[in-house]
């Protein structure tokens, strides 16, 4: 059977099961809000709307930081400055230790990605549908990692990059190509599956009788939204960095 047909059948099955179960519970399905945005052929879904909400919050936060940055002291005297310094320094160290000091500029990309995935995963706590519970979002992130892997591979270590496809034996080439193609798929489906799984379980739990919905959902939210959200964000960014760093020759890293 064709893979895409199989996946579609699977997806239809999940959709059917969830729609049946969530008649009385939390709505975890993605809704199309605008079919055709300004005649461009693009639709606007909950995913996009929530992404914009997240973007708006992050932009607001970034603007506040940018304004307050002028008042930052050499010796931090506010919790806000400490927090900002801590997150930026943590990300910088994270990138530097994974990719080498010379490529610490990847922090610019991964800082945004990290913030976006983290807030997306945590936004479920406020009753929003997580944008990362949509394959479009996670596939776009996986695709950007895939692009960066091969872009950096070709531009920084061309010889090693193409030789890498023939390791350990030349006839291993198809295997290597499949493994390269599997990277973004595994990255995006891991994040998507974890977050969607969490929201489906939460949605199903909310269909249960009222007396079990006291206190227990808090623990489930801590696990599925906070813990899994943090973990999956960390895993996604960490793996992306490792995959990109793998294609960069070691001698250029410091």
């Amino acid at each position: 059977m064709d893979l895409s047909v199989e996946l579609t059948t699977m997806a239809e099955g999940v959709t059917k099961a969830v729609s049946e179960a969530s008649q009385s519970g939390l709505d975890i399905k993605n809704h199309v809000l605008v079919e055709d945005l300004f005649g461009t052929g693009f639709r606007v879904t909950y995913t996009h709307m929530n992404t914009w909400i997240i973007m708006g919050c992050l932009f607001l936060f970034a603007i506040i930081v940018r304004i307050k940055l002028n008042k930052f002291k050499a010796v931090p005297n506010t919790g806000f400055q400490n927090f900002i310094e801590a997150i930026v320094e943590a990300m910088d160290n994270f990138v530097s230790s994974n990719m080498g000091n010379k490529y610490s500029y990847f922090g610019n990309w991964f800082f945004g990605v990290f913030a976006f995935i983290l807030i997306s995963n945590l936004i479920g706590l406020l009753g929003f549908r997580a944008p990362t519970a949509d394959l479009a979002t996670t596939a776009c992130l996986g695709f950007s990692t895939f692009f960066l892997i091969h872009f950096m591979g070709i531009f920084k270590g061309r010889k090693e990059y193409f030789k890498g496809y023939l390791d350990p034996f030349p006839f291993w080439l198809p295997m290597n190509i499949i493994s390269e193609l599997a990277t973004p798929v595994s990255l995006s489906f891991r994040l998507f599956g974890n977050i969607l799984g969490g929201s489906i379980i939460m949605g199903l739990f909310y269909t249960l009788p009222a007396y079990v919905k006291v206190g227990i959902p808090a623990a489930l939210h801590i696990y599925f939204d906070v813990f899994a959200g943090f973990l999956q964000t960390f895993i996604f960014v960490m793996l992306s960095m490792s995959f990109i760093a793998d294609k960069i020759p070691d001698e250029t890293k410091n």
Binding site: N30, F42, T45, F72, W109, F116, L196
Partner: protein
């Protein structure tokens, strides 16, 4: 309006492109407004602290050098002081010897002069005594003579003495 959870069709690819645009904008703005300025701020602070530490180290080195220089100078001064003191002491000792010698000489001179004076006084006294003795004896003699001889004899004797004296004077 359809609802869905996972749709693997052309719309999903469009959603993907839309999300890619969103993500790129988000990352660009976050990088421009937050990450890069804060990182630059941290880097500037690190550089400043590093500069301060380096300059402090340089100053410390400079100070140590100065200290060594001054210690060297102090040691030289000590040596010089020792030399000056020794010289002064030697000169003092020499002067002492000179003064003693001078004093001795002066004392000797004074002593000699005193001796001369004493001798002179002695002689003077002797003369005085002699004169006194003569006077007394002449008084005594005159008494005796006055008792013993008469006027004639006396005149005769005086004449004789005068004549003797006259002869002696003429002779000498």
């Amino acid at each position: 309006m359809e609802d869905f959870i996972l749709s693997l069709d052309i719309n999903m690819l469009k959603d993907l492109a839309f999300q890619l645009l969103n993500t790129v904008i988000l990352c660009a703005v976050m990088s421009y407004l937050l990450y890069k300025p804060v990182k630059n701020f941290l880097a500037a602070r690190r550089d400043r602290i590093e500069g301060q530490i380096n300059s402090a180290e340089g100053q410390l080195k400079e100070a140590n050098k100065m200290k060594a220089l001054y210690e060297e100078k102090l040691r030289a001064i000590d040596k010089e002081k020792e030399m000056i003191l020794t010289e002064a002491r030697n000169r003092g000792a020499q002067r002492e010897q000179e003064i003693i010698a001078e004093a001795k000489l002066e004392a000797e001179t004074l002593k000699n002069r005193a001796m001369v004076d004493i001798q002179r006084e002695q002689e003077k006294a002797k003369d005085e005594i002699k004169k006194q003795i003569i006077e007394v004896s002449s008084i005594m003699a005159s008494r005796f003579v006055a008792e013993a001889i008469d006027r004639e004899k006396q005149e005769k004797m005086v004449d004789e003495v005068i004549s003797d004296l006259g002869e002696v004077k003429w002779l000498s």
